[in-house]
């Protein structure tokens, strides 16, 4: 889906102003009615749990992500793991890494921390900046709007990867790397969300209840906080749900290019870089991080799609979701 299309659809979701509070129960009903979204949600929850419990899980396995096991690889053959499927067994649940013999299960679950943590933190940064600037542009005078909108245009027009590469290259290596990567992705990727928020705010502020608030003498800040933000929740949540998986792939790509988190901290992107030359000699080494990345992005995307549908009454009714009609038809 192109970003413009997503933006258009997302913006469309809020046109009829559903007061958020009254819509919450309906939202859950509509979300629960989508089986794919539920499965995806469960998977995301599981992944987050695995990431949080990484030290616990590896302790259970009796391994850690950085210890070398030279005896578990065949040194004479380039360091290919000894044993079938990359040395899978009771000690090493997913086998070991070629050349180093480091435990792949441990690296994979610790890698999940980096991948999910960085992606979610970056999403939060994007949402905060996007909402703030979007609302400010919509509520400010002509000059503020012009200035912020053009700035947003510039940010949207910038090639994300190249910007990120440049930024990551100039920051000294003493700066904590995962935080830096999250900040860089966050600082570059907020453009579209700001545009959506500005458009939505412009629509909302013409509505009667906002006008009423203004007439009763409320200040701009109070109006934004009490009257506008609840109306913005739906499109923002929807767009954020779609940003998270794309942020995961950006983090993986940056690590793949060698500017993400630094060794020995494992991340999926970094594992992919190290593994790409091994696709013939030790395929499981490549398949593990690739599979994990694929599942995570798929689950987050399906969940994001479910959230969007649940928040959009028209889409929900088109799909006959959460209306109870499906059950009636079956009966």
């Amino acid at each position: 889906m192109s970003e413009a299309l997503v933006a258009a659809e997302v913006a469309g979701t809020g046109v009829d102003p559903v007061p958020a509070a009254s819509g919450a129960r309906q939202f859950w009903r509509r979300l629960r009615a989508q089986r794919a979204a539920l499965v995806a949600g469960a998977l995301v929850a599981l992944l987050v749990l695995v990431a949080l419990a990484a030290p616990l899980l590896t302790a259970l396995e009796g391994q850690d992500p950085t210890t070398y096991h030279p005896a578990l690889v065949d040194s004479a053959r380039g360091g290919v793991p000894i044993g079938s499927f990359g040395g899978i067994g009771g000690d090493h649940w997913l086998g070991v890494e070629p050349q180093t013999g480091r435990d792949l299960f441990a690296r994979l679950v610790y890698g999940a921390r980096v991948s999910l943590g960085v992606a979610l933190a970056a999403t939060v940064v994007q949402v905060v900046i996007g909402v703030t600037l979007g609302v400010a542009a919509a509520l400010g005078n002509r000059w503020v709007d012009q200035l912020l909108s053009r700035f947003t245009d510039i940010i949207v027009a910038m090639p994300l990867m190249i910007m990120a590469l440049a930024l990551l290259a100039i920051v000294p290596s003493s700066f904590p790397r995962p935080v830096l990567v999250a900040l860089v992705i966050g600082l570059i990727g907020w453009g579209n969300i700001a545009k959506i928020v500005r458009a939505q705010t412009l629509t909302l502020k013409e509505l009667d209840y906002v006008a009423a608030a203004r007439l009763s003498g409320w200040g701009t800040w109070r109006i934004a906080r009490r009257e506008l933000l609840p109306g913005l929740a739906a499109p923002v949540i929807t767009y954020a749900a779609l940003l998270a998986p794309s942020n995961i792939t950006v983090e993986a790509a940056l690590s793949f290019l060698g500017v993400g988190v630094k060794p020995p901290t494992p991340s999926w992107g970094q594992m992919l870089t190290a593994a790409d030359v091994w696709y013939q000699a030790a395929p499981q080494y490549l398949l593990l991080p690739a599979g994990a990345l694929f599942l995570t992005v798929l689950a987050l995307t399906v969940l994001g799609d479910g959230v969007r549908t649940a928040l959009d009454p028209r889409a929900a009714s088109r799909l006959r979701i959460g209306t109870g009609r499906k059950r009636e038809a079956r009966a």
Binding site: P70, G78, T100, G258, K262, P264, V277
Partner: protein
């Protein structure tokens, strides 16, 4: 030995790196040759040899090439006074005569070297090669516009330090005499027993003055070797060579020149080169590479396939990867700390990180494990296979770090399996067992190279590597450990900042020897003596594995270059 000249040294370092990276594939000569050639192993003349390379041979001018032993492709076109012996293994580290009748006749203290040319030597156009042409070839390598060669000639020849080349200074170099058309005499400003090694470099190629076109000479250099340049596109990206009919095997004992035509294609991705050589289809069946090694993953695949495994050449090149200390940075000023790290290093995981036992041999000496370098086995701080953490802790306690120590290891982010993150993390893991917490500082390649070669920015603890311009202890040890070669405001290679009078004196004494075997023995002893100071922790010597096409015959890989020698290869 190189004198401190910033640009020259940088170029030197860079090119040595390149030569190496590109470098090598030599041989476990014993184990693969016979098998490789198999059935009808007699080489025959004819056919086209394709060379698939990653890096192009740029500036194909004998004045500008930086080679070890005359290079591989260059050596097919450019003959030199002496050259490397085209034999497998250790025999290939010897210097042998090429254009000259012998490897040079020194005076008593090795400051004057005299050579006589063979009879009947001609260029590709049939004109005779004279000693004046060799003199002219050397002189033009001093021209600023033809830079690129090694700095030795400028350092060694009498009165050459400020010479600007024959275009500006018509008088020429008085340090080189040509009493007659077949004799050439070199006057050096200090004793250099290793001059015959220097005379293998392409700067000793004859260049006919009448045909010299300055910077354009590289497009059509006049051949003195078995092949001439037919075309050279995009500065070495594709070089096509054909037989030089005026070359005669009667005057050249070294080059076999079996193929009629040689097609060098460069700028290819290394994985593409290895893939093409392994499938070996069409023209690739008669193809070799002179600069692309098998990586660990590729080796794992190849070693599982008998047909492919038989087509792998193994090469050794005098090269050492090591940890360097800067003793002016705390806590590395304390020899006990340096020794503790020497004991704690786990060479088996380092070797695995470098590609496993087939691609790296554990090193406990700074000198490469080859006789020509004067290799004398020693292991002053025995770490065993997996590191001696207990001994390391004991030394740290004596040094006052009873509760462990936190240090920063600087490395490059190059993907070379030499100074790269893989090696650094292997060391980090091993030192953890000895209570040393290692923080990693990975730098981009240029930044890394600038930092470690500048005395003002040199880190205390970093990964380094070194290879010499020819297989001898002199160029291997002197730049790194000669106190007079410390460069305060330029590219410095003496990273341990060692300035020990007895070491300096021994280096001078060995340079006077013209008996290279005797010199080698003393280099070996000197290496051990320096090793006691624990200024470096030798990690491993690389081994090169190279695939070649299935029609390739007569594979010769010397320990000098570690590379399959194209002048010996046959495709029929």
């Amino acid at each position: 030995m190189r004198q401190p000249s910033l640009t020259a040294r940088r170029v030197a370092a860079a090119t040595v790196g390149l030569v190496l990276a590109a470098g090598a594939a030599a041989c476990g000569p014993e184990d693969n040759d016979a098998k490789a050639s198999g059935g009808d192993s007699t080489p025959h003349k004819g056919g086209t040899l394709t060379v698939l390379n990653a890096n192009p041979t740029q500036d194909f001018d004998p004045a500008r090439l930086y080679t070890s032993g005359g290079g591989n492709v260059p050596s097919l076109v450019f003959r030199t006074l002496t050259t490397r012996n085209r034999e497998n293994g250790a025999a290939g580290t010897e210097v042998v005569p090429d254009l000259a009748t012998d490897t040079g006749r020194p005076n008593k203290d090795a400051t004057v070297w005299t050579y006589t040319l063979k009879k009947g030597l001609t260029y590709e156009d049939g004109t005779a090669i004279t000693s004046a042409d060799i003199k002219y070839g050397i002189e033009r390598s001093f021209a600023p516009e033809l830079s690129g060669g090694a700095p030795y000639l400028r350092d060694w020849l009498v009165g050459a330090a400020d010479y600007q080349g024959p275009y500006k200074d018509k008088k020429g170099l008085s340090a080189i005499g040509t009493p007659d058309a077949r004799t050439i005499v070199f006057h050096l400003n200090k004793p250099e027993g290793e001059f015959p090694y220097l005379a293998t470099q392409t700067q000793f190629t004859p260049v006919p003055k009448a045909k010299d076109t300055g910077t354009k000479y590289e497009e059509h250099p006049v051949s003195s070797g078995p092949y001439k340049v037919v075309s050279n596109q995009n500065d070495g990206e594709r070089i096509v060579l054909e037989r030089n009919t005026h070359w005669s095997a009667a005057t050249d004992a070294e080059r076999k020149a079996y193929p009629d035509r040689i097609d060098v294609r460069s700028g290819l991705d290394s994985s593409v080169i290895n893939q093409r050589l392994s499938t070996s289809q069409g023209a690739d069946a008669a193809a070799v590479t002179t600069d692309t090694n098998l990586g660990p993953a590729e080796l794992a695949k190849v070693s599982g396939d008998k047909e492919l495994a038989a087509r792998v050449g193994t090469g050794h090149f005098g090269y050492t990867n090591y940890i360097a200390f800067n003793p002016t940075v705390k806590p590395f000023d304390n020899p006990k700390v340096r020794q503790a790290i020497s004991y704690a290093v786990d060479r088996s995981s380092v070797v695995n990180a470098a590609g496993g036992s087939a691609l790296a041999e554990p090193a406990t000496t700074f000198l490469p494990n080859q006789k020509s370098f004067g290799y004398e086995p020693y292991d002053l701080f025995p770490a065993g296979k997996a590191g001696n953490a207990a001994k390391a802790r004991e030394l740290l306690a004596q040094a006052g770090y009873r509760n462990g120590l936190t240090v920063t290891l600087t490395h490059s982010n190059a993907k070379d399996f030499e100074t790269s993150p893989e090696i650094a993390t292997a060391i980090q893991d091993a030192l953890k067992k000895a209570g040393i917490t290692v923080k990693l500082q990975g730098l981009e390649e240029n930044d890394y190279s600038d930092k470690i070669h500048n005395v003002k920015t040199e880190p205390g603890f970093f990964l380094a590597h070194w290879g010499a311009d020819w297989p001898s202890g002199g160029p291997f040890l002197a730049p790194i450990f000669d106190g007079r070669q410390i460069v305060k405001d330029g590219a410095n290679f003496n990273t341990g900042l060692l300035d020990d009078k007895s070491v300096n004196a021994e280096i001078d004494a060995i340079n006077k020897l013209t008996d290279l075997d005797a010199a080698a023995k003393r280099w070996g002893a000197l290496d051990k003596k320096i090793g006691e100071q624990a200024l470096t922790v030798p990690l491993f010597h690389p081994v090169y594995k190279r695939l070649y096409g299935k029609d390739i015959k007569n594979v010769v890989i010397s320990d000098w270059t570690g590379v399959l020698d194209i002048s010996q290869v046959a495709v029929k």
